[in-house]
Amino acid sequence: MVQQLINGISIGSIYALIALGYTMVYGIIKLINFAHGDVFFVGAYTGYFTAKAGLGLILSLIIAMAVCALLGVIIERLAYRPLRNAARIVILITAIGVSFLLENLGIVTLGAQAQGFPDIVNKSTYTLWGDVTIDSIQLIVLVVTVVLMAVLQYVVHRTKIGKAMRAVSFDMEAARLMGINVDTTISATFAIGSALAGAAGVVFAIMYPSVDPLMGVIPGLKAFVAAVLGGIGIIPGALVGGLLLGVVETGVQSIPGMSLWRDGVAFAILILILIFKPTGLFGKNVREKV
């Protein structure tokens, strides 16, 4: 039982890590950035190449984050910025387009087959008691996710750039009048969100050692669900949503014969939670003032 909880938290912290980037971007421009899962895949592949080239974990992470940050900024600049004033669903469709584009460019250039990810971390397993074990990667991911969550929360709520981000998220024109450079602020948001996706990609590829161009689809979807579960746009919500989703999935699978229903139950719980908390667990139910 405890082991299953650890399993759940470990998968959940990965969801949370990806969800953080999702929520970050959503929080600022209200865009469900469906390409997020694909930036994640680019991060993983970048890590794959750096690892193959013999670079270690830290360097691989840094390079992958940098590449993804750049990619995120480029995507925003080319695909989303021209649509600043368009309806949100239009940007959403564009994001789906970008997602398809990245995936299929990946297939064309890298091949559709999954590749094994080189071993770059010496994993050590700690036995807590009896049969219950946890390994170093699981621990690292959890710690990194929690720390990043705290950092992001601080940045968004306590720093000047964070205030600018929130102002932009509510009213771009008024934000301009405050002297905020809206474009830079949005670029920064994308850079941070995408860097997080890149980091998640590398960590994911280390934990589950294979990479392929479609690897981001399912984690991306799960992270999206996690973000909504926690209340999309709310940073601690992403963490809680991710962990909860991981634990629920693992919990369902730990019941004999239920493994088939993992996603079904997870979605059912999601819908139930939303019915009772229509804006997610942490979402403030801000009713429009009439």
Binding site: N7, G111, M207, S210
Partner: protein, 372 residues
């Protein structure tokens, strides 16, 4: 490489024999389709450089069914009506193949699927009807499951087993089913049946549970991407039981994903072994490596053999008459492929030997050969 498109000759009466490859080149299982197309193309080039068939060159027209059933029906129709192919090949997975079966039957075009394993594709057991125009080059699901169940019971002397199936794959479920009935008929006990889905990455929840059951054998009939992770995670959790699977495991990436040591004490059934010293196998593997810079997986080798099977049938038919090709395919006897000596039975399914391979330090080693 680029898609080998039809080069203009629109009718089959030209100097080419047209093969239409209806494959999953994009979408969810693009990895299978693209790999298979590589095998097909290699075979085509070899055949053509050896002078073709009956003096005519082979031409492969590939079309993408986007890993979708409805598209597959349409793609097959397009290959027949627009590209006027003589023979259809594909699709790579059973679902997409099913969608093309009726097209082949209605249009009376022989169709050979390299890798669709579902029992009902060639012979519809529900309606008790043979699909006259449909053939395959691979084992059927029930065969591999049986082979490995026998192997577990007889060679490994296992008394109990856990089945861990890819529930979103028809192939995996077929293998699981036949393994179960055979293993039980031999007195073995299935202590748990669990499942996962394609593209899953974390299997610890179920493996944790399997570990407490302490089975002798874990039967994981899936594809290498997930299987590799299952093996790795199982071993890391301290599960030492034998893990077994089918030809879906056969890919060079498996070793990278699972890790060499973790693969010890795993067994698979396969058509052949890439370590086989047989010159036919060596020639294929070398040629494939030279052209694509990677070791072929099961999909590629099946595509390769299937292409030669078509060429063989056309040669024996002596023309591109569809009926004659169909008859010739049905009469395939002792065809020497890389994956063994193939004869088609009355259900259009190959009768060929399977080999059981054991992974030792990341290398496939021959264990036993099982005749059907």
């Amino acid at each position: 490489g680029c898609g080998s498109k039809s080069t203009g000759s629109s009718s089959s009466n030209g100097d080419t024999i047209k093969i239409g490859a209806n494959l999953e080149l994009t979408g969810a299982v693009a990895a299978f389709g693209t790999s298979q197309l590589n095998g097909i193309k290699l075979a085509m080039e070899e055949i053509n450089s050896a002078g073709g068939v009956n003096g005519k060159k082979l031409e492969v027209v590939s079309a993408d069914n986007a890993s979708k059933k409805d598209e597959s029906t349409r793609t097959a129709t397009k290959l027949i009506t627009e590209d006027k192919v003589d023979v259809l090949m594909g699709a790579a997975i059973s679902g997409d193949t099913f969608a093309a079966v009726e097209v082949a039957n209605n249009k009376k075009i022989p169709m050979l699927t390299p890798s669709a394993t579902n029992d009902d594709i060639t012979f519809d057991h529900k309606k008790n009807k043979l699909n006259d125009y449909v053939f395959r080059a691979c084992f059927i699901d029930s065969f591999q499951g049986k082979v490995m169940a026998d192997f577990s019971a007889d060679n490994l002397k296992a008394k109990n087993a856990v089945i861990y199936t890819d529930n979103s794959s028809d192939y995996s479920k077929g293998l699981a089913k036949s393994f179960k009935s055979e293993f039980e008929s031999k007195g073995g006990k299935i202590v748990a049946e669990e499942s996962y889905q394609t593209k899953d990455t974390d299997f610890k929840a179920v493996l944790t549970r399997i570990k407490t059951l302490n089975p002798e054998v874990i039967w994981v009939p899936g594809y290498y991407e997930e299987v590799g992770k299952i093996v790795k995670q199982a071993r890391e959790m301290g599960i030492t039981a034998a893990i077994e699977g089918g030809d879906g495991w056969d890919a060079p990436q498996l070793v990278d994903i699972a890790g060499k040591e973790n693969l010890n004490n795993t067994f698979i059934s396969n058509h052949y072994t890439s370590e086989d010293p047989d010159p036919k196998v060596r020639k294929f593997i070398d040629a494939f490596k030279a052209k694509y810079n990677t070791v072929p997986d099961a999909m590629a080798v099946l595509g390769y053999d299937a292409t030669y099977m078509v060429a063989d049938a056309v040669k024996r038919a002596g023309s591109t008459d569809k009926e004659k090709i169909k008859e010739a395919l049905a009469n395939t006897k002792n065809f020497e492929g890389v994956t063994g000596k193939i004869s088609l039975d009355k259900n259009h399914d190959p009768v060929k030997a399977a080999v059981v391979l054991e992974y030792k330090d990341g290398k496939q080693t021959f264990n036993t050969k099982v005749q059907p």
